[in-house]
């Protein structure tokens, strides 16, 4: 069985598992966990384009999640706006703030930019706390439910899973074609990216806006899932968690960060000693991955399978086929 067949089969099996989850999951708690994974993945899938593909060190996305959540809670909860419309607005606002978050990337190099994103999430939290009339300050706000049939746990699960699948499909389309290559070129060799004509700054901004939209949408459904949000929900450690899911899963891939999200969300819930360690565990895991397999655990499987298959690296000489080259050059559009 070749690797293409394996991949397709795993995807089909995975799809079936996801579609039927409410029926084989143990209890309400596990269903809730699955929904949480979907909600996180909506944000992380978008963030993946920024961090995993374009290589921007954004550790402030919890601020965008917060903006999405509060927008939804205020519109759909306090102001009685239709929840679906509220989700759209959350996404839009998230996109706008994502743009603002990405702007400094033009002027500020790596670490500086990371700190700027950290400052962003800190400022968002402070504003949320201060605007008591709007956001309930330290007390927080209830997260409204969606109308039938999405008001039940099973219905909600299918709602967020559908959104998550849609976002995954979008990012997969971007990743495997020209834009994906362009983003990776910005990450791995910006000079080369310029040389082939990639509009580096515009591309970064596009990635940030996209990730802002998904973060806003994620925030909206997050508020609904949690049923109550306070500023304490949106701590820096959550930003780190998103970031770690991507790095551990492996940059430049979609499935890697997805598996990372699943594992890192589920693990502390299912293995209780880990739950006590909480963020210490994420830090430890990140350190181990960075030191041992910096390409991420996704790559680790590739490396292992490469080792298992016999290594036959044929070193053939470079022999140009000049006729073929001439013909290829003649094609001018």
């Amino acid at each position: 069985m070749n690797s293409q067949t394996t991949k397709t089969l795993s995807l089909i099996v995975g799809a079936i598992l996801i579609a039927t989850l409410p029926f084989w999951a143990g209890d309400q708690y596990q269903l809730h966990l699955a929904a949480l994974i979907a909600v996180y993945w909506i944000l992380i899938a978008g963030l993946n384009l920024v961090v995993g593909f374009t290589g921007q060190l954004s550790i402030g996305h919890v601020g965008l999640l917060s903006i999405g959540s509060y927008t939804f809670a205020i519109l759909a909860g306090k102001m009685g706006v239709d929840p679906t419309l509220s989700v759209f607005v959350s996404g839009l606002l998230g996109g706008l703030c994502g743009l603002a978050l990405g702007l400094p990337s033009l002027r500020l190099p790596g670490f500086y930019f990371a700190m700027a994103t950290m400052a962003f999430s800190m400022i968002v939290n402070e504003i949320v706390l201060a605007q008591v009339d709007l956001t309930g300050g330290g007390i927080g706000l209830p997260g409204p439910m969606f109308p039938k049939p999405f008001d039940s746990p099973i219905g909600f699960y299918y709602l967020v899973t559908a959104i998550a699948l849609f976002v995954t499909w979008l990012t997969w389309n971007i990743a495997r074609r020209m834009w994906g290559r362009a983003f990776i070129s910005i990450r791995d060799n910006p000079v080369a990216a310029q040389a082939v004509g990639v509009p580096v700054f515009k591309a970064k901004l596009l990635a940030f806006v996209f990730s802002g939209i998904t973060a806003g949408v994620s925030g909206a459904v997050f508020a609904s899932l949690q049923s109550y949000i306070t500023p304490d929900t949106f701590v820096f450690e959550l930003s780190m968690f998103f970031f770690v899911c991507i790095i551990i899963g492996g940059r430049g891939s979609i499935i890697g960060p997805f598996l990372g999200t699943v594992v890192l969300t589920a693990l502390p819930e299912l293995v209780s000693p880990l739950a006590k360690l909480g963020n210490f565990f994420y830090g430890l895991l990140l350190l181990v991955v960075v030191l041992v397999v910096p390409e991420g655990i996704g790559r680790m499987f590739e490396i292992i399978s490469e080792r298992l298959r016999p290594r036959t690296v044929h070193r053939e000489p470079i022999t140009p086929d000049l006729n073929r080259l001439a013909k290829a050059l003649k094609v001018r559009e």
């Binding site: 499909w169 979008l170 990012t171 389309n173 971007i174 074609r177 020209m178 834009w179 290559r181 362009a182 990776i184 070129s185 791995d188 060799n189 000079v191 080369a192 310029q194 040389a195 082939v196 004509g197 990639v198 509009p199 596009l206 996209f210 430049g252 390409e295 690296v313 044929h314 070193r315 053939e316 000489p317 470079i318 022999t319 140009p320 086929d321 000049l322 006729n323 073929r324 080259l325 001439a326 013909k327 290829a328 050059l329 003649k330 094609v331 001018r332 559009e333």
Partner: protein, 255 residues
């Protein structure tokens, strides 16, 4: 299209960094369908001139032109769009992508797929990508990398990396390609292959600027040669003329 017949020119360019003058009133023209060598000792300003032509530096005075268009202040990306490709002294590749993906990146400026169109995978996007991949595959086979098309770029040896970078430049469908010491680290056999490839580029009407240290190689395959020394041009003209010029011999070729 007149752009095809236009020359890429540096006209009396000077470049200063702070108090240091790297280039002083140097002119060079690159014609379509010619191989133009650029030689000179270390520090003579070859790389500076290359960077000026490709847009990484702006001239302190003088101009860079492509036909009638003044490119002096144009961005690197603009130069790519008008058909100026280049390679680098140390190949700049994307280590985690395959040879095919690396080379196909070169087709970027010909892509008409917007971000949103790509996200929703419009049929035109799929068609365009397929076309680029096929065209790049042909280029890679032509240049001699057909046997490593799906290999990850960080597993390539030095020569393969150099040829890959050239292939990426060709995927840009350039009118001009500026090669920065492409023979560095190549065996004699590989340099021979490189010459053949450059000849083919020339016959296709591409203007090739060849910055090199391997002077035999340069004089053998160039139509015209420009020699620099400490930021000044000391001789330019037909390859044979320059090779036998006494000052060039004194400064660069040794006794």
């Amino acid at each position: 299209m007149s752009a095809m017949q236009s020359e890429l020119q540096a006209i009396n360019v000077s470049k200063q960094f702070g108090g240091l003058s790297a280039l002083d009133q140097v002119s060079l023209s690159l014609r379509p369908g010619e191989v133009h060598g650029l030689i000179g000792p270390n520090g003579s300003g070859k790389t500076t001139l290359l960077n000026l032509l490709s847009g990484y530096y702006q001239p302190t005075s003088g101009a860079i032109k492509l036909g009638d268009e003044d490119l002096s202040l144009a961005s690197v990306q603009r130069r790519a769009a008008v058909g100026v490709a280049r390679t680098f002294q140390k190949p700049r590749l994307l280590p985690m992508l395959s040879v095919l993906e690396n080379a196909t990146l070169g087709a970027w400026s010909h892509s008409e797929s917007g971000f949103v169109a790509s996200a929703v995978s419009l049929p035109s996007v799929a068609r365009e990508d397929k076309k680029f991949l096929e065209q790049t595959t042909e280029l890679l086979h032509g240049i001699g990398l057909g046997h490593v098309i799906h290999r990850r770029a960080n597993l390539l040896d030095h020569a393969e990396q150099r040829f890959l970078e050239i292939a990426r430049g060709l995927a840009m469908r350039p009118s001009f390609i500026l090669l920065d010491e492409p023979a560095g680290g190549l065996t004699t056999q590989e340099i021979e292959h490189l010459s053949q490839v450059i000849h083919t580029l020339r016959s296709s009407g591409i203007g090739v600027l060849l910055v090199e240290h391997h002077t035999d190689f340069v004089f053998r395959i160039s139509d015209r040669v420009t020699t620099l020394n400490v930021g000044n041009m000391i001789k330019h003209g037909a390859s044979d003329e320059v090779r036998t010029d006494p000052e060039v011999i004194r400064v660069y070729l040794g006794a």
